[in-house]
């Protein structure tokens, strides 16, 4: 049987529980980029993201093997919920919030301090968008979470609402504010200056 041809996550889970380790490998392969990107954009540190990614799947494995998985058809939202909780646990233990400057040492003001107005449109398209990662990190945590879960996790607003314990309207509202704030930062970059 070709494991990769199996269409549903639930079928892969069933196979894994019957002892087919390849099914777990396929589940990880299938969802690794969405899960890892979501974690990385929240914690902004590759090493930490790797650790949390690993811890997430260890919890997944333990739960599956214990027969406590009951989210049929919703494997990815379930895994993202575990990852999200581990991220929250990490920051709770650290007793700090995510910082603005990321682990690459990249400073947001390097992006926003655009001086050559004649190149503004080109800069917005080619540089500022390319550095969108740093702008995302400037969003309030609640807005950043929704944007990441919606775009990278491809979760519905209902799933995001369930995951973050808010109403669907609140999840939607946070997405709207995230988009509006990103737009403000991109359009308003002339208001932030960097003088050396």
């Amino acid at each position: 049987m070709n494991i990769q041809s199996i269409s549903t996550d639930q079928d892969l889970i069933n196979l894994y529980l019957k002892g087919k380790e390849e099914a777990l490998s396929e589940l990880v392969t299938r969802h690794k980029s969405k899960i890892y990107t979501s974690i990385y954009l929240l914690v902004k540190d590759e090493y930490l993201a790797e650790d949390i990614f690993q811890d997430t799947f260890i919890k997944v494995i333990k739960t599956l093997r214990a027969g406590r998985y009951n989210e049929e058809g919703k494997f990815l939202p379930w895994v993202l919920r575990i990852a999200h909780n581990l991220v929250i646990d990490y920051f709770r233990k650290e007793k700090r919030s995510p910082t603005i400057v990321n682990s690459d040492g990249f400073d947001i003001f390097d992006v926003l301090g655009i001086h050559d107005e004649s190149m503004e449109e080109k800069m917005i398209k080619e540089q500022t968008y390319a550095d969108l990662k740093s702008l995302i990190h400037l969003l309030p945590d609640e807005q950043k979470e929704v944007l990441i879960m919606r775009h990278y996790g491809e979760l519905s607003f209902k799933e995001i609402a369930d995951l973050t314990n808010v109403s669907i309207n609140t999840a939607l509202g946070r997405m709207r504010y995230a988009l509006n704030n990103l737009r403000k930062m991109l359009v308003g970059n002339k208001e932030v200056t960097l003088k050396m």
Binding site: L24, S33, L41, I58, L138, Q143, H151, N169, L182
Partner: protein
């Protein structure tokens, strides 16, 4: 000396405080902007190291 404006961040904090407003859906401008930045967002996708994946799979096998 580094001089910066805090106008944008103040706006974000204000928006955060208002983040519980009930809103139905993205309006046209918001949807257009989202479509505009999607390629850039997609460029941010990252992959975990193969070593990390191997450790996960090894952990699972160790439970057999």
């Amino acid at each position: 000396m580094i001089a910066t404006s805090t106008k944008i961040l103040n706006t974000l904090l204000q928006d955060k405080a208002d983040g519980n407003l009930a809103l139905d859906t993205l309006n046209k401008n918001e949807a257009l902007f989202y479509d505009l930045i999607k390629p850039s967002l997609n460029n941010l996708v990252k992959q975990p190291k193969q070593e990390t994946i191997n450790q996960i799979l090894a952990y699972s096998k160790s439970l057999q």
